[in-house]
Symmetry: D2
């Protein structure tokens, strides 16, 4: 059986997923056969070009014609069109893989999660938090599951970029609340919240995130419209956020993200301290995990590229490092395998919703100036 995949969105994420699907046969021979069947978008010229480059059989300009017609639907469009097509697809019994954050608003996210629940367990609805699929992160998860770090006391997550440092950097849809929902909080914070939920959120590790104190800031209020003659538009989302967390077991967390962190391009770091050990991870050195285990005196820099490291046996010999894009191959492998076997996939829409609840609580906390309990 070949799975026919329909994909909405043909830019950055469209290419990342198309590439991932294209690479499965050579490296994951037990993955289901996939046909990149339909690419969906609005600009027909750009769409045709993209379909050609990304290897799609056909194109469509209306997702409504597609969601029922394919075996799998990928929703890789901007945040404000995550909800409606995803819900329609699930309503038609079509598995959905949706980019993060799940939705621009908590309401949308809830509706999507409901649709996923109603579609049933054999219709996977995945939220594409790709960083769960970094081998070093999977390895960290194994260690945490085995209790290697003991009782968790501190977690820290930071996602730093600097593409808005220049106040003359142009306005974009990502800076508009209507279109993007939020700024760094949804774009970068969603990744951090999901990774921490994944790593320590289980009941026997740190448990759920219980309450949060948030802080949002917009440093530059309006920006020039590209190509215009001096026109500017308002920035209506956050340029940076920070948050403090408390987990069910009492562990403390601090989160941060910014587009104003001069000198940092895509610097997502996770740090965890437990009673028996600690770990550190940085996305810009994604092949490495820094580990402090019981009996160690310092952190050991582990290159997570050995044959028995997660996913690595599919690729190259030890020390032949992987890149950012490999995380998409891994998540596509897992998601499409779940589709084929009609089994559950994580991170699911429920995971997407759970992350959204944390982000919403951070926003609410910022607005109120007080700690907010996460529902």
């Amino acid at each position: 059986m070949t799975l026919e995949v329909g994909v909405l969105g043909y830019r950055f994420m469209g290419q990342a997923h198309a590439n991932a699907m294209a690479r499965l046969p050579m490296f994951f021979p037990d993955a289901p056969d996939v046909e990149r069947a339909v690419l969906v978008g609005r600009n027909e010229d750009e769409l045709a070009d993209a379909a050609d480059r990304f290897g799609f059989e056909s194109t469509a300009t209306d997702w409504a014609d597609v969601v029922d017609d394919v075996d799998v639907f990928y929703n890789l469009g901007p945040n404000h069109i995550h909800a409606e097509p995803s819900i329609a697809a699930l309503g038609a019994g079509t598995p959905v893989f949706c980019e993060k954050p799940l939705a621009p608003t908590l309401e949308d996210a809830e509706a999507m999660a409901t649709a996923a629940r109603e579609a049933g367990d054999d219709v996977p609805a995945g939220c594409a938090f790709n960083y769960r699929f970094v081998p070093a992160i999977q390895y960290a998860k194994q260690l945490l599951d085995e209790g290697e770090l003991g009782e968790i006391r501190h977690v820290r997550g930071r996602y730093l970029q600097d593409w808005l440092v220049d106040p003359e950097a142009p306005w974009s849809w990502r800076l508009d609340e209507e279109l993007a929902g939020s700024g760094v909080l949804g774009d970068l914070g969603a990744h951090t919240v999901d990774l921490l939920r994944f790593l320590v959120g289980d009941d026997d590790i740190a448990g759920g995130m219980e309450r949060v104190s948030g802080h949002l800031q917009t440093f530059v209020d309006e920006r020039p419209v590209e190509g215009s003659d001096g026109e500017t538009r308002a920035v209506t989302v956050d340029d940076a956020y920070s948050a403090q967390l408390e987990f069910e077991n009492g562990a403390m967390g601090t989160l941060e993200a910014s587009r104003f962190a001069t000198g940092h391009k895509n610097d997502h770091t996770i740090e965890i301290h437990g009673s028996e050990g600690s770990l550190r991870f940085s996305l810009e050195r994604l092949n490495e995990l820094e580990l402090h285990r019981d009996g160690d005196r310092g952190y050991e820099t582990v290159l997570v590229t050995d044959e028995d490291d997660p996913y690595v046996d599919h690729w190259w010999p030890p020390g032949h490092v992987l890149g950012w894009e490999h995380t998409f191959v891994h998540e596509n492998y897992e998601f499409l395998s779940a589709v084929e076997s009609g089994s559950e996939f994580a991170p699911s829409f429920q995971d997407g919703l759970a992350a959204q609840r944390v982000l919403a609580a951070i926003e609410k906390s910022d607005a109120r100036g007080e700690w907010v309990t996460i529902e």
Copy 2:
């Protein structure tokens, strides 16, 4: 003229300052002559031993006999005896150098600052925040003063230790609210707050700290009494804290400290992002400053040991690294020079009080579950 110095406290800090004074003549020949005149303490045997090793002329068991009799008074005792002897000394016109945090409570700190103000500008009252005197920190301060980092957006300060990770680690006075005032907040957080005030607190940099959200946690509630037969005592202070800050110019800050950060011994790190550059500092590599300046693509690891780096010409050739204790030599040099010339010294008791206000606001915020404005 030789300055006769009386020192209260003969343990860790007593030795650090005695050593600093002893080293001045060889490395800072223009420092005032100092006589380690009187060492003050309660246990006469230990005191005699310490006086002998630290090079003091005499000992005393009552500070009240000393504060009026010496040219300078160093208060290096535990936090709860910072206020009374310091105030008495200042009342007698004797300059005071007091260890941090200035006092266990905001009230004490205010009384001490008042005493300092009343003693007059020619009677220096210094709070011994030694990390201001790391050459790399002084160099960072120069760069910030010159505007090299542009408009400050983010500051981050973290002080990690791990000596309480083991729940069987014994109880000590540092874990008692009466004796210590607070836990990591006063012990470690005071250093972080002072460093950030020093580096970016000026009006033309980020300005004062305006409001704060705090989070305190005690992970282990009671601990065994050393040498006892199974007896335990309550831990009544914080094991860890985190905080979010907002500065006058809108810059965001996150602070953290812990005694439960497995794998970290004395890891005090500072990070600052401005619109033109960024910097990072870590106490465990105190000879280095990581700098991202305008036009750079990444951080440059600068070894701050060149001849024209702050204080370095007093020591060794480039690349011959300094240690932790040198910060005490530098601060003693500056403080004693101020005493000799009857001029102001910073960090002063006012700086100590300002830091205390931030710490108090963090505690209050934690208790209330809401942001608190710093007075």
Copy 3:
């Protein structure tokens, strides 16, 4: 026009190049169209499987049937079959891309280079030194070409692995002089020599390598035959080598490689000091280049993933790191483009031969115990 490619070799390198060709259309749309036409090997079952996974149209067991029949011939077999098929292909006017080292012996390498010369400039004969195509290395080359590092004084190249540390690690063809030619010297040293020739070997940089002192060592003389009952075979190649170099301009070099460097998987590092600056590169962090430029005080860690960095605009946004395999995409792009346009490609067979001459001189120097001039 579509280029039909015949590939000899279907293991590690076979997969690396097949993957590279497969990825060209999506990321390098101006690359020539390529058909993975014939896969050549001896074991028919394995060959059929590999052809299926790697996307080849057909298979063949005799390279002689293939070299004349395809538009391009890739020689990715073990070293001892580099010469004959490559020479045959070139004799037939078929461009050849051959894995490194060019040949197991200097004689073979010379014959191959001669064949390449006779085939003419419009028949590219490339030696697949893929590390030239790391973006950070290309960026380093730009800086060196622009004279940013000034007069070169020191170069250092080291390639460390540890897969033979265990004396019970099994014997393999790589440990046999007949089959492999040499040990680490050809396998790893060839990469280092080529990279240094590429980076500083031009006349206006450090110039050619003039003389060399070599040292080869075999630590474990015999090893168990896998699957045998206690049988062992002799190790007849070097486990490690070191060398000292002198360049035409007087610059000094030190080289090293080992399969006994405990804790290092694939650690290829290059360091260069010039009168105006220095640089460092490590393959295990291949997205980074450490740079010390005129006026700097230390090394700046540059993440070479910006849009205007070499090849990066073909891939992902800044900070989205590439992996080891991307070097193969880049070299296939360049080589196939040269084939299409009938123009020269570097590294050529002449470059392969030049590297071989250095390796041969290192061996000769080791045998004689004296410095040897490189011809």
Copy 4:
């Protein structure tokens, strides 16, 4: 009993040792009492100033008046005056502590070692290789002695500085063969050779250094005389050297030092690979040791500042880092203790001579263009 110490030399090394002696009572209370009795030098004004700052009781301009008169003689003058005064002191039964390299020529070194042997075991003759006394190095030595790294395969030692990069940097006595003996080879290479002998030179580790291939280079042949009107003088020593080594057990070594390594101030690094583990050390981060032990996957960065680390209990709590100068305190403690008890001290003059033999062999090898056996 108080040891009266006479010291020849009042510049950099004079201060380093005077400081070390001054610090012993406070931190090493069981060290012998020491009186800085006589400071010896030629320029009376400078000498008087130095004696005053360094805490000496008296001065002398002729070492011959001193060597017999004191309990201990420190020879900290330039290399060409190491031999005569040291031999005279030993002839008078006075223990000698001499700076490295032991002598400018092998002949001098041999004469000094003979004098030391004749003086007898109860008259310690020490060569002040201070880097043996870095806590991290002592800790490494313990691990090596315990066989933690297994059979040694590779050692690497590099000492990089950059103070001669500028061709206009002025001439100094260190660049004259008559006065200095050699350039970097004796100044920096001596340290590296001694450290490697100390760490792995024992028979049950890698054993002695057996043979060597050396390479010396002078990049700038003449330099301006400071303060002159365009006058220059010839540089008659090496600006840089490299060497390959073979140890008795077959381990391979590479050594290097340079004063032309742009961006490196005092960067002395040691790396060792054994069959069970590896280690790395860098002088610019002298509180750290990077360790790969059996079962580890990567290097662990160990902060060697715990209470039970060598010498650390004399100083500060964990994580309060030491500096370069502390190595002098440690070696003075050990040497003076040996003097007091009339017992042997290592590194001895024999160790100094052994290092010299390696350096001489490197020079000879460079001159001959062939490997040279170390006598």
